[in-house]
Amino acid sequence: MRFRPANLVIKDVIRETASVSTIRFDRSLDPTPGQYIMVWVRGVDEIPMSFSAPDSITVHAVGDATRALCALRPGESVGSRGPLGNGFRLIGENILLIGGGVGVAPLAFLGEDAKARGIDVTSLIGFRCREDIIFLDRFRRLGDVILTTDDGSAGIKGRASAGLSEIDPEDYNQIYLCGPEMMMIDIIRRWREDASRIQASINRYFKCAVGICGSCCLDPEGIRVCVEGPVITGDRLLESEFGRYRRGPSGMRESCY
């Protein structure tokens, strides 16, 4: 029984920006922040999505399945497997969240969980432009927020890393990342000394999500990101393919930009 796809009825679809929507289900799945579900859009595909809250995912429409997902309406449903993966580990009294684009979604969930446990939360979030900003209010409710946009239409002008000059990593027990791969590896390399205190939620091509097909494995250790991740510490990522290349659906190496 528990192996069948769970049917999740959609309660709400909230349009956050032109291409990002939050899909709220009719019940909480009780995930740990950083965990994901395999969402099955029937007749289309099954894809990994991080939780943006215990009962929601936040989807950037980039292809067939994500577009189909964003087009669903309240009352319709999807199949799902999960929660899956390891999730973030909360460590210490004072944490820093750094997110870019739709990658801020699991961090908002993490921050709310941390704050409820009495942990101090600081956030650095970056977007391409003012129109792309999501969850700014959620982050402001958590604590200090540094905002960046690539075009300078809101906050500091530049990539999320442009906001790093305002931050001393030594001030935080733990640092959590989620966003574009080059943003994350850039930060991990700059803060190399602190890499073991960085937890990054990373993206690889998932097929089985049960740790046997090999699609998501990370060189050179062969870490199965779908079951041993998607949250991996910075020191392990520094030694890996992360930021250099990734593999596509066929297993062919491709650029990670």
Binding site: R42, I212, C213, G214, L218, G222, G251
Partner: protein
């Protein structure tokens, strides 16, 4: 400790437990990791002549008794795979390349382009149009393809058979006539699952292949039948998840044993099985040779 080393289908292995094709076999690093976890050899993901992305998801359905998969032979083609084989060799055990094609010529093209310690011909995948069991159900094809690859390479060639036929021995005999060094049995059993909430077949490809504990009795019967009919060695695969399962395969006549779906529970199962076999042989005062095919002699 009882020695587990020996010759399996033309390869000298430190133990008879191997990684099955298509399981953590896409990257050299993951195969090396399985080798370092104690496997006697590793078999790669099935590799073909052109890159394939594979089927849409869901690609797997988990059941209490096993798994149904329809990956659809995703692979980057042999042109992009030598590097992965070379990395896998860092695990210190033989690396067998699983290959597929749609004709004897295509099989020979892929095999001659790859440097591996052996080849396993996938004539048995149940969910890829024009490949696998679609051609591997015909004994004439099996013989011809085996012969073509034997001509193209100088390392051992194993033929992986489908159980989705009336008499698997007919396919085994065809592989033997073609010059195979061993047969591998079995690939997955054709299967499907339906989502009762919507009526949709769950797999993106609708039909997939069943693996795991549910198919072990079928695999065991196939190994038993094949080892009685063939001169060449039989390698057993299907549902092995503990040392007793592996011992059963060997007692049915298997020269080697492969493991796939059980790795879902973690890589430690490899060491658990090889240690379990050693301890068992020691307790009984038997060698691998003593038990190989014992069930054939007794029943």
């Amino acid at each position: 400790m009882s020695s587990l080393s020996g010759d399996v289908g033309g390869l000298r292995l430190k133990n008879p437990l191997m990684l099955a094709a298509g399981i953590l076999g896409t990257t050299g690093a993951s195969m090396r990791r399985v080798a370092l976890a104690g496997a006697g050899a590793v078999v790669t993901k099935s590799i073909g002549a052109e890159p394939r992305d594979g089927h849409h998801g869901p690609t797997v359905v988990r059941l209490g008794v096993g798994l149904i998969n329809a990956m659809g032979l995703p692979n980057p083609s042999y042109r992009a795979f030598q590097e992965e084989i070379d990395t896998a060799r860092g695990g210190g055990v033989p690396v067998v390349a699983s290959i597929f094609g749609s004709s004897p010529e295509e099989f020979a093209e892929v095999a001659s382009a790859l440097d591996a310690d052996g080849f396993e011909l996938n004539l048995s995948c149940p969910h890829a149009k024009g490949y696998g069991m679609e051609i591997g159900c015909d004994p004439g094809n099996v013989e011809e393809i085996t012969r073509a690859v034997k001509r193209a390479v100088s390392v051992p060639v194993w033929v992986k058979l489908t159980p989705n036929v009336t008499d698997i021995r007919v396919l085994g005999l065809a592989a033997q006539r073609g010059g195979a060094d061993a047969v591998v049995a079995i690939n997955t059993l054709k299967a499907m699952a339906i989502d009762v909430e919507s009526g949709y077949p769950i797999l993106g490809n609708v039909i997939g292949g069943l693996s795991g504990p549910a198919i072990k009795p079928v695999a065991l019967r196939c190994v038993y039948e094949l080892s009685g009919a063939l001169e060449i060695p039989v390698i057993g695969v299907g549902g092995v998840s503990c040392w007793q399962d592996a011992v059963e395969m060997i007692m049915a006549g298997a020269a080697g044993v492969q493991i796939g779906t059980a790795l879902m529970g973690g890589l430690e199962v490899i060491g658990d099985i090889t240690n379990g076999i050693s301890r068992f042989l020691e307790r009984k005062g038997w060698s691998l040779e003593d038990i190989r095919g014992i069930a054939r002699r007794l029943g």
